[in-house]
C-alpha cells in the first residue's frame, strides 16, 4: 500500500465508525476537540484499525500519545513500514 492508500483507509474507516464528516478530517484535527471522540471511542478506534490493517497495536505505548488525525496516519504508516 502507498502512504496515500493507507491514509485513505484510515480516514474512511474512522469516518464510517464515528460518523465524522470527511471535510472535518484534516491532518491537524484533534480527535477529542475537533472530531468529538472520547475515551471509549479511542478503545474502539484501535479495534477498527486492527481490523482494517490486520495488525495488533493495542499494547503499543505510542497510542496513548495520539492526539491528531496526523498522529494516527504517522503511527499506522510507521507500523506498516516496520513490517515491510
Amino acid at each position: 500500500m502507498t502512504k496515500e492508500e493507507v491514509i485513505e483507509l484510515i480516514d474512511s474507516s474512522l469516518a464510517e465508525e464515528f460518523e465524522v464528516e470527511r471535510s472535518d478530517m484534516t491532518p491537524e484535527a484533534n480527535l477529542y476537540e475537533d472530531l468529538g471522540l472520547d475515551s471509549l471511542d479511542m478503545v474502539d478506534m484501535v479495534i477498527v484499525l486492527e481490523g482494517a490493517f490486520d495488525f495488533k497495536i493495542r499494547e503499543e505505548e505510542a497510542i496513548r500519545a495520539i492526539r491528531t488525525l496526523d498522529d494516527i496516519h504517522c503511527f499506522v504508516w510507521g507500523k506498516i513500514e516496520e513490517h515491510s
Partner: protein, 411 residues
Amino acid sequence: MPVTSVVVTGIGVISPLGNDFSQLMKALLAGCSGVRELPELEAVGGLRSRLAATVNGIDPKQIPRKFRRSMSNMSIYAYLASQQALIMANYPVEQLNSGDLGVFIGSTLGSTTTSENFFADYFRDHSLERMKTGLFFQLMGHSCAANVAQSLGITGRILAPSAACATSSQSVGYAYEQILMGRQKAILCGGADEFHPLMVATFDIMHAASTHYNQQPTATPRPFDRRRDGVVCGEGSGILLLESESSAKQRGAEILAEVVGFATISDTSSIASPNIGAMVKCMELALADAGLTIADIDYVNAHGTGTEQGDIAEAKAIQTLFAGQVPVSSLKGHLGHTMAASGTIELAGCIGMLQQQQLIATLNLDEVDEHCRGIDHLQQNRVQPVKTILKNNFAMGGINSTLILRSYMND
C-alpha cells in the same frame, strides 16, 4: 404535603401501528393490524411461525452517535418514546437533572441481537480482540433505562423491571407507588423490546405461537376467537410520564388520565401456565388498592394474547369477577404481542379510549371460543361513557399485574 393522586401527563409510542400516540390511536380505531410476514424467518430451522409485528419508519440517526453507540433497537425505541412523552407533557428541560424525575423502563432481556452478533464473531476463534466498548451497554438488563437517562440527562431514580409480558405494567405500577410515597415527583415509565427469532421460538416450542396464518398475517393473533392459534411476537416501546397531581398542576400541564390502582403478584402454580384464581386475586388487589369495586369498572383491557390456555383462563377470571357485566377487549389482535412494551402501548390505547369515549374491539375476534364465553366481548368498537379502566398483564414466570386508570377532569 402528601401525594394523593398520580396522573399521566405524557405518552410516547413506537409501535407496529405507528410511531406516536396519534398514529397508534388512528390505527387502533380503524381496526388496522401491525402484523406482517417476515420471509427471513423461513431460514430459521424448526421455526414454524413466519409472522411478526415489527416497528417501521424510524430514524435512529436522529439520536446523537455518542448516545446511540450504546443502544440496541430496544433502547432506540425507548429513547424515541421517552422523548415524545416529555414533549407531550411539556416537561421543562431544566428539570431533567433536578433529581425529581426518574426512569423506570424494563425489557424482557438485554439485546438478543447484540448477543447473537457477539457470539457469532466470538465462536470464529474464541477471541475477544474484536469486541467493542458498546457491547456491554446493549447487553445489560437495564440497558433501556440507563440509555434513556444518559441520553436525556435525567438524574433521578432508575429502575429496570424485567417481568416478560408484565414488565411495563410493573414499571408503571412501581412508578405510581414511588410517586405516591413522595420519592419522585415524576417518572418516565414503561417498557421496550426488539424483535428477534428467539422471541418467536420461545412461544413456538411451547406450541403457543401462531403458525397457521403465515399466508394471512393480518388474520392473527385472534384473542378469544375459536380459531386462535397463538401469539404473534412484536416489538416497540410505550412510555408514560407519570407525575404527582400537584407537580402537574403546578406546571400547568394537561392531565391525560389518573392511575388509581395497582397490584402485582407471583402465581406459583406454574412458571408457564396461567391460573384463574391468581388472575382473580390480582384484579381484586388492584381494585382494593384503588378503593373501587367491580361496579366502578367500565371496561377491562385484557392481556388476551391469543393462546389456547391464556385466553380461557383470563376470560374465566374476568367472568368470575365481573359476571359478564363489563365490556372486555384485547389490543393484541391489532398490535401482536409487543412483550415488555405491551403493557404501556396498550395503556396508551386505553387512555385514547378515555379521551374518545369509545371502546376498541378485539381485532380478529370473529367467533368467540365457547370456553371464553360469559363475558361481554367487544367485537365492534362501542361508543359509550367510559371513566375507569382495568388493565391486565399476565407474564411467563407466574407474574400477574393489574393497573386501574381513570379519566381526569382538567380544570
